[in-house]
Structures are given as structure tokens and as C-alpha cells.
């Protein structure tokens, strides 16, 4: 099932110098249930912009985005109930404890108490957050904060999860924990959009990727498809090549891939699960 459908998405920011700045230019991709979709791109590529549109925080300038078959502009309320959004910008409140924070959002999602508290207990246990559940936000480390953010995004059990550079600033231990959380979620059949520019993470986690650069979609497909198409097995090298070509304007915006033909690569998947 296509949980996330992005079609010809464009986003312009008003810009004093250029009048309009095209942060996203005709982006299309599809992400399905039970997969991790990697959104890759260098700094300033437009990843955050795209994911904010998916999370209904920003409005698209044109194009359509459907999440869980709800339109982000027309059915924003439904979309919000269907997503959990974690980014390095979605911080937590300084003067609230982890427990209060998650409870607050749970109640905003209108979860009844008899469902909310058991779910909170479960999430706190799974994410190993019990020892700092009464710790106020100011006193938490980056890793703890990120866990609280994830707990917040999971509280209403959404079908789609959006992670925007969620591993930023995390140490190896926590980053791995995060990866295993993501893989667990995938195995539960959730659709996960995962943006990063760490290639090792991509190789480990992502089933599908889309590479964007300066607001344009350079290529999209499974890791194998990309490797075959560009005759390059080292993914970091491949990424670099694509960007260099993109700079020279060798790519047109339209990816030569048929999104429907998707082969899950055993290697990446098994590699991921092994962790």
C-alpha cells in the first residue's frame, strides 16, 4: 500500500534577492507500508522542506502530497493523526519531564486515559526511558531528548513516521538503538520516511531511496537499482558522483525509474535486521 504519495511537489520560499527561491522543484516519490524510505541529499537540498510539507507544517506551492490517502492541504487534521514527525528541530520543553511531555501530546491526540497510560508505559519500557521519566527537559542529554521526541511521535501509533536527520548528534550506541527502533517499526508494517546524509545508515536501513539536490530529484529506486544504473557499488561514491553530475546539469529532473518495479534487496534488509 502506498502510504506516502508525493507528486510534482514544488515549494517556493519568498526570497529578497531572487524574489522566489525554489527549495523544491517537481519532486515525486512513493513510499509504502513496511518499508524505510530514505530521503538523501547534501545540506540545503530541501529534505527538511519536503518533510515539513509531509508533516503539514508547511504548505506546498504546487503539486500534491497524500499521506495514508489523506491530502496534506485539504485534510491536514487527518494527516496529523496519521504521522509522527521527529526532526532535529522538534525539540522538547525545558520545564517538563519526559513523562509529562509524552502525556501532553497523547492528550492532544485525544487518546483516552485507559489507552494512553498503558501505551506510555509500553513505549517508555521499549525505548528504555524509565530511568529519566521524571527528569525535566533541561537536564536531559541529546540522546535522551531524541528518545523522548520519538516516544512523542509514537504515542498515537501512527501508520507513517517521518524522521528528519534524527540521528544528528547521537553517539554510536544511541544511533544504533535508533536504527533498531526504526527497523522494528518497519517490521510492524509502518511506513518510515528517513532523511539523512550518513551513507552507512542508508545502506543499513533503507529499502528505497530518493536523492535530491538543490531542490531537484536526481534519482530514486532501491539501492540495487541505483548501483546497477550507475555502475557503482560503493554507495557513498555513487552519491558523490550523482551530485557532481547534478552540478554540471547532466540530470534532468525526471528520474528514469519506474517506481512500481521495486525489488526488496535481501542484502540490505538482512543486514539491517542483524543489528
Amino acid at each position: 500500500m502506498d502510504f506516502v504519495q508525493v507528486q510534482n511537489l514544488c515549494k517556493n520560499y519568498p526570497d529578497a534577492a531572487l524574489g522566489e527561491f525554489k527549495a523544491l522543484d517537481n519532486i515525486s516519490f512513493v513510499a509504502r507500508a513496511g518499508e524505510v524510505f530514505g530521503l538523501l541529499g547534501p545540506n540545503g537540498a530541501g529534505k527538511t522542506t519536503a518533510l515539513r510539507i509531509l508533516a503539514t507544517i508547511l504548505q506546498p506551492s504546487s503539486g500534491s502530497v497524500r499521506i495514508y490517502n489523506f491530502d496534506v492541504t485539504e485534510q491536514a487534521d487527518f494527516v496529523r493523526h496519521s504521522i509522527g514527525f521527529v526532526s532535529n528541530n522538534t525539540a522538547i520543553y525545558d520545564r517538563m519531564s519526559a513523562w509529562e511531555f509524552v502525556e501532553y501530546f497523547g492528550r492532544l491526540y485525544a487518546l483516552p486515559a485507559d489507552r494512553l497510560y498503558p501505551r506510555m508505559e509500553k513505549i517508555f519500557r521499549t525505548l528504555q526511558m524509565e530511568e529519566f521519566r521524571d527528569c525535566p527537559g533541561v537536564k536531559m542529554s541529546t540522546g535522551m531528548k531524541q528518545k523522548v521526541s520519538i516516544a512523542r511521535a509514537l504515542i498515537h501509533d501512527p501508520p507513517v513516521l517521518i524522521f528528519d536527520e534524527a540521528s544528528l548528534g547521537l553517539d554510536v550506541m544511541v544511533a544504533r538503538a535508533l536504527q533498531s527502533i526504526v527497523m522494528d517499526l518497519r517490521d510492524q508494517g509502518k511506513c518510515i520516511i528517513y532523511s539523512t546524509h550518513i551513507m552507512r545508515e542508508v545502506e543499513r536501513l533503507c529499502d528505497h531511496v530518493a536523492i535530491i539536490y538543490k531542490g531537484k530529484l536526481l534519482d530514486t529506486g532501491t539501492l540495487e537499482e541505483l548501483a546497477d544504473r550507475h555502475e557503482q557499488n560503493d554507495f557513498e561514491e555513487l552519491f558523490f558522483q550523482l551530485l557532481t553530475k547534478g552540478d554540471k546539469g547532466h540530470f534532468d529532473a525526471k528520474p528514469p525509474v519506474d517506481l512500481g518495479m521495486r525489488i526488496r534487496t535481501a542484502s540490505t534488509a538482512s543486514q539491517g535486521r542483524a543489528l
Binding site: Y13, A16, G19, A55, D77, I92, R95, M96, L108, R152
Partner: protein, 742 residues
């Protein structure tokens, strides 16, 4: 709107603020500490003040007439400490010098025996320091015998505050002495003392003491409360908007199920809560402290002061608490909108000043002596509410009830506008996710040029309006010295209309838009509509005159203004009517319409802002008439003209309306002043009364009917048609304006 979201957000924000030490300090601790501390300082100062004495030295007291001593005895309770000094050689020499100064200037001095001369030069200051006195009197030898030849010499140094006080006290003392001396002299004659005391007065004040005590408080307390309401709103607002943006928690909230509107409501209620809390806590703390301090004062014996500034009556607190609610609501919404513009708390602090600058005049206005609740003041936001609470405290319930609907309507509307502004801020991506400005000023200007459109933007329009208002302010100042003559009237009309009003709009239209014709809303005139507009002007003229007369009654013109108007009338009547119509009717109509209903209207009506365009251009149009009465009448007319401009889609009709209106006013004034009667065939509409031409009641009634018909005609014409409507009676306005500038 999901109110459960609002409630959740509200609870969380309040709890969050209560956990914040800084907020708690400014909102709770500070008021609790501030007033007791201030009270303590006041008590100390008062004690210190009471003990302040000035010392006045007297040289040559032996020369003072001994039968009525100036210095009574040591039990004299005044603040003056007298020092009788003896003249030694060096001091004698200095005093001699002053006597010569004295002699030189004496001729210019009016026949006053005690005149103090501030003698330039170090000698006097040295002398004062030498004898350790704040002021010195010298009674010259022979003073007793020849007062008019040898006046008293008083030396002081007005640079020193104590010296100022000494002179003031001394003057009182001498005055008293003077009177008692006259009484003594009169007692010797047959006349009796009735000559100096022709009146026996017993003054009675009938106001109840507690109302009188409230009097000072009614001026001070609303001010204090408003300041705290604003402060109490502002800091939480910054923390709730800019602070959340800075810390990144806003994005967390924005992707939650809470809608922007609900977020705004939640935050707004929180801010209101704290704004009200701060104001009330300050009020309570101030009340307690003053009650205690005042009791202390009365124990200290300063009874006069306590009488005028006694403890605050409790019932007035109730009215003040009522005042807090609407004011807090308004300030909170304003603070929220302003704070949401800021990217960081630091940036947010910068916005406090502009907000204070806007709020302060509204708060200060009720403190001006003589400003009371009236039709005029009740429509001013904040001011109306403050005056209302004051009327309630003073027990003038009838007056308060009369203006209650207006004040409530104005306050609610302001609250609504501020709230809507705040919600718009939250819905605007460019505000919520503002990038740091990446371009330079030069780039920005280039961009403005490159992105010109057919019509100006609303910001450009507003800027143009402001430029014109500022230009008119300085223009009028510089023209005000001109002599009153027809030439100067022509000059000032041209300078103001073409130079100050039209020029900025024309320049901006040329530089900032691609199409001057569209920017000024010039369209092909439709004769039928223009005629209808002109007719409407004719028919609305009696109504406008009546309205202007009402306004004139409510806000009286000053003496000076009136005499200038008379002069102006006589200037007009000494000129040919064609010149008057050209200079005072046609040219102003064209210039003002091109600017207000042209350039300004074009920019403001973009994106469906027709109502905004009508309101704002009317306000600017009113403000461009420098005197309050004209501002009011012109603003109301501006609404009408604006509506016509909207219905007709251009300026042709409004020019026709405006010019017609002006012409009628000019014709009436011209004929009246020449003492001419109106043509015979118009006798059914215009009559001669009191040496003026006036409308007959037949025409007044008829005109209203025709005007309504014409308005209906305009209103029902399809919007496809661009019908120029009426522009209203600007004639008198011009007339007056020119008068003031000339």
C-alpha cells in the same frame, strides 16, 4: 475550534510559566517587594524633606524699620532659618559693588521695592558660600527712611535648588509682611483695613472626602495598571512565541493535532492570565502599601497630604479590576502578534519599545487635565476604557452608562482585530519559519524594482500615506508664517496639493509600479456616472453641513482659528469666483483623489482588501487635514468617497463628487460674504438668514431622499461598471486648511 486542545495548551503554558523563575519574579515577587520598598523610601524622603530648612542671611538688619520686624522670634514655625550678619570690610566692599549694579539697572525696574537681582559674577556666589546662606538680604543704610531710593538687595543663586526654595519662601514672607504693614498703616487712618481685605471668603468643598481621595488615584492607578498589564503580557508572549521558536518546540506543536488557531487561543489565554495577574497583584500590593504609608503619614502629622492622597477607596478597586480584563485581552493579543514576529527572545525584546510607543499615548491621553469621557474620547481604544473606569470610580454612573456601548464595542473590536492579527501571524509561513535576512539593502532595492507590479503593494501605499502626513506636518509649519492674502492662499494650496500630496504618490507610482495609470486608478470616465456622482455631492451637501456643524459643536474651534476663518472668508470674497473655484475646489479635488482614492486605494484594495482600503484611505484623508474637526468630518466623508471609489473602480467619479462638493461650499461662502442673495430661481433651496446663505428645510429633506436614491443606484449597478461615486464635501475642509496654512 477544538476547545479541549485550547484547554490543554492553556494548562501546559500556564504550568510552564509558573515553573519559570524569571516570569515568577517579574510577575509575583517584584510587585510584592516593589511597593513596600517604594513606600519605605517615600517615608524616609518625606521625613528628610520636612526637616529641610533654608537659611537666609540678613546684612544690616539694624536698618530695618523696627516697628514691624521682619524676623519674628525663634518660635516662628517657618522653614526659614534667619542669620543676622554683620557687614565686615570685605563683605561691605562686595555689597557696595552690587549697589552700583543696582543703581545702573534701577531705572528699568518697575516701581517695586523688593526686586531680586541675579548678579552675574563670582563675587555673589563667593559671598553666599562665605556666609553659608542660601540667600542673602541686604538692608542698605538709610533704608528705613527712603525705601524708594534705597531698595532691598536680595542675592541668590538660582542654580542651587535650596536657593530657589529660599527665594520662594522669602517672597511669601515679604508678601505677608507687606500686607501686615499696610494694615498697620491703614489702621492709623480713618479708612480701616477693609481696603486691603475687600472680600471675605469662606470656601466650601461639597465633594465627599472619599471621592476626593480617589481623585489622584483615578489618574495614577489606571496608568500603573496599564503599564503592568502590558509588561505582564509582553514577557510571557516573548517566551511563548519567540522563545518556543528559538528552542524548537514550536515545530513540535505545529505538527500536533492542535490547529494554529487553537494554539493562538491557548497562548492568548495564558498571556492574558499573566497580564491580568501582574496588573492585579501590582494593584493589590500598591493598595496595601499606600494604606500603610498613608496611615504613617497621618501619624507624622502631614494631614494635608493625607487628605488629598488618602488610602485608596476599596470600591474603586473593583472598577479597576473590571478595567483590567478588556485591556489585558487587547494587550495580550497585540503582544502575541508582535512577539510571533520575532525569531528569538532577544529580537523579541526589541519589539517592546514600538509596542510601548503605540500604547503610551493612549494611556497618557486620559491623564491630560480636562480630558473626560465624551463622544469623542469614548471611541479611542484604551483611553475610552480608562476614562470609563474613572467615571465609575467618581460615581458618575449616568455618564458611564451613556458611553458604555461605545467603549465596549471599540474595545471588543480592537481585541478582535489584535486576535485576528495574531492568528494570521501564526498561519503565515514566512513569519513562523523566517530565515535570517540573507540579502543586503541594495539587493532588496533592486528586487523591489525588478518585482514592480501594475499597482503598488499595500505596504507601499501605507508608506506613501505616512510620507504625506509627515510632509504636511512640516509643510504647514513652514507655511504658517505667510501673510493672509489671495496670493499666499494660492501659493500654499499649490505647495500643499501638488508638492506635498500629489508629488510623493506620483513619484512612487512611477518608480514602484509598471503602470502609472493603474496605480492611480485612472480609468475612462463614464459621463453618466460622473454626473450621478456630482448630483450626489449636491444632495449630500446639506447633510454634510449639518454634520460638520454638529462636530463643530462637540469640538469647539479656538478663537484664533475662528478669526482666521473670517479673514479667509473675506479674502475669498475679494477674488473672482472662477479663481476661487479653480484653486480651492478643482485642484484639491484632483490632487487628493489621485492620491487617496488613487494610489493609496489601489495598493490597499489588493487581495480583496476593499474594506481595508476604504477604512485606511479615509483615515489618511482625515489626517491630512491638520485640525481635529476637519479630521473627523473628512474621515467620515472619506468613507463615503472610498465606497464610491470602490463601486466605480476609479477616480473619475470621486473627482467629480469632490470637486462639486468643494464648489458648492465655496459658492455659498463667496455669495454669503459678498452679502449677495442667491439667484431668484434657487429661492426654494437657498434662503438668506442671519446674513448667511442657508439651505431651506424643503431642500434639506428633499436632498436626503435624492441622495439615498443615488446611493442605491450606485450600489445596484453591476460591479462590471466602474462608476465614479461621490466624493464628499471637502470644500469647507480645504477652506479651513488653507486658512490654517496661510
Amino acid at each position: 475550534m477544538n476547545w479541549s486542545h485550547v484547554k490543554l495548551i492553556f494548562h501546559r503554558e500556564v504550568r510552564d510559566q509558573l515553573r519559570d523563575r524569571r516570569t515568577m519574579f517579574t510577575i509575583c515577587i517584584l510587585p510584592l517587594l516593589l511597593y513596600p520598598l517604594m513606600g519605605m523610601v517615600m517615608l524616609q524622603v518625606a521625613q528628610f524633606h520636612r526637616e529641610q530648612h533654608v537659611s537666609i542671611g540678613i546684612f544690616g538688619y539694624e536698618n530695618w524699620p523696627s516697628d514691624s520686624p521682619l524676623i519674628l522670634d525663634s518660635s516662628d514655625p517657618s522653614q526659614i532659618r534667619w542669620e543676622t550678619l554683620t557687614v565686615d570690610d570685605s563683605i561691605g566692599a562686595t555689597l557696595e559693588q552690587f549697589q552700583s549694579v543696582q543703581a545702573q539697572t534701577n531705572s528699568e525696574v518697575k516701581n517695586k521695592s523688593t526686586e531680586s537681582y541675579i548678579v552675574n559674577g563670582k563675587a555673589a556666589e563667593k559671598l553666599l558660600r562665605q556666609v553659608h546662606c542660601d540667600a542673602v538680604i541686604w538692608v542698605p543704610p538709610g533704608y528705613h527712611n527712603s525705601i524708594s531710593i534705597n531698595p532691598l538687595v536680595i542675592l541668590s543663586n538660582q542654580r542651587w535648588e535650596r536657593s530657589q526654595l529660599a527665594i520662594r519662601l522669602l517672597a511669601e514672607k515679604l508678601e505677608g509682611w507687606h500686607l501686615s504693614w499696610i494694615r498697620t498703616q491703614l489702621a492709623w487712618t480713618e479708612l480701616g483695613t477693609a481696603l486691603v481685605d475687600p472680600l471675605a471668603i469662606r470656601q466650601l468643598d461639597v465633594s465627599p472626602p472619599e471621592v476626593k481621595r480617589a481623585l489622584v488615584w483615578t489618574k495614577i492607578l489606571p496608568f500603573v495598571m496599564l503599564i503592568w498589564a502590558l509588561t505582564g503580557a509582553f514577557y510571557p508572549a516573548i517566551d511563548l512565541c519567540a522563545g518556543e521558536k528559538e528552542r524548537g518546540t514550536l515545530e513540535t506543536l505545529l505538527c500536533s493535532p492542535a490547529r494554529r488557531k487553537e494554539i493562538v487561543w491557548g497562548k492568548l489565554l495564558t498571556i492574558m492570565c499573566f497580564s491580568m495577574g501582574t496588573a492585579l497583584l501590582n494593584l493589590a500590593s500598591m493598595h496595601t502599601t499606600t494604606s500603610i504609608v498613608m496611615t504613617q503619614f497621618s501619624q507624622l502629622g502631614a494631614t494635608d497630604m493625607v487628605a488629598s492622597l488618602g488610602p485608596l477607596p476599596l470600591h474603586s478597586m473593583g472598577w479597576l479590576i473590571l478595567l483590567v480584563i478588556p485591556i489585558s485581552a487587547m494587550f495580550s493579543a497585540l503582544a502575541l502578534a508582535v512577539a510571533s514576529l520575532a525569531r528569538s527572545t532577544k529580537e523579541g525584546q526589541y519589539y517592546l519599545m514600538p509596542l510601548l510607543l503605540v500604547g503610551m499615548p493612549l494611556v497618557m491621553l486620559p491623564m491630560i487635565p480636562g480630558v473626560t469621557l465624551s463622544h469623542g474620547t469614548s471611541v479611542v481604544p484604551v483611553t475610552g476604557a480608562v476614562l470609563m473606569s474613572r467615571a465609575l470610580i467618581d460615581g458618575e454612573y449616568g455618564l458611564a452608562l451613556l458611553h458604555l456601548p461605545t467603549v465596549i464595542a471599540v474595545t471588543l473590536y480592537c481585541c478582535f482585530l489584535s486576535k485576528r492579527w495574531a492568528i494570521r501571524q501564526f498561519e503565515s509561513e514566512s513569519v513562523m519559519f523566517r530565515d535570517s535576512e540573507r540579502s543586503s539593502v541594495a539587493q532588496w532595492i533592486r528586487n523591489v524594482w525588478r518585482q514592480r507590479e501594475d499597482t503598488p503593494t499595500s505596504n507601499e501605499s501605507i508608506l506613501c500615506g505616512l510620507l504625506i502626513i509627515v510632509g504636511l506636518f512640516f509643510g504647514r509649519l513652514s507655511l504658517s508664517g505667510m501673510p493672509l492674502s489671495w496670493t499666499s492662499v494660492v501659493q500654499s494650496t499649490l505647495v500643499i496639493q501638488v508638492g506635498i500630496i500629489l508629488a510623493p504618490a506620483l513619484i512612487m507610482a512611477t518608480m514602484l509600479t509598471r503602470c502609472v495609470r493603474k496605480a492611480l486608478r485612472l480609468h475612462r470616465p463614464r459621463p453618466l456616472e460622473m454626473m450621478a456622482a456630482a448630483s450626489l455631492a449636491v444632495c449630500l451637501h446639506p447633510t454634510f453641513m449639518a454634520f460638520a456643524a454638529e462636530v463643530g459643536k462637540e469640538y469647539k474651534l479656538g478663537e484664533q482659528t475662528n478669526s482666521m476663518l473670517m479673514q479667509f472668508d473675506s479674502i475669498i470674497s475679494s477674488t473672482t469666483i472662477w479663481q476661487v473655484l479653480l484653486m480651492l475646489a478643482l485642484i484639491p479635488a484632483i490632487c487628493e483623489e489621485l492620491v487617496f482614492r488613487g494610489f493609496l486605494f489601489a495598493g490597499l484594495q489588493r487581495n480583496g482588501g476593499q474594506l481595508r482600503a476604504i477604512l485606511v484611505t479615509a483615515a489618511f484623508f482625515g489626517l491630512s487635514h491638520g485640525v481635529l474637526q476637519q479630521t473627523i468630518t473628512a474621515s467620515v466623508m472619506g468613507l463615503m468617497i472610498g465606497w464610491i471609489a470602490y463601486r466605480s473602480g476609479g477616480v473619475a467619479c470621486t473627482i467629480a463628487f469632490h470637486a462639486t462638493h468643494n464648489s458648492i461650499s465655496m459658492l455659498l461662502a463667496w455669495y454669503s460674504n459678498r452679502g449677495l442673495n442667491s439667484p431668484h430661481y434657487l429661492s426654494w433651496a437657498i434662503e438668506h438668514s442671519d446674513g448667511h446663505l442657508a439651505y431651506t428645510s424643503t431642500w434639506c429633506a428633499l436632498s436626503v431622499g435624492i441622495a439615498i436614491t443615488l446611493i442605491a443606484w450606485f450600489a445596484t449597478r453591476g460591479s462590471v461598471l466602474s462608476n465614479p461615486r461621490s466624493s464628499i464635501g471637502m470644500n469647507d475642509l480645504h477652506q479651513q486648511r488653507v486658512t490654517f496654512t496661510a
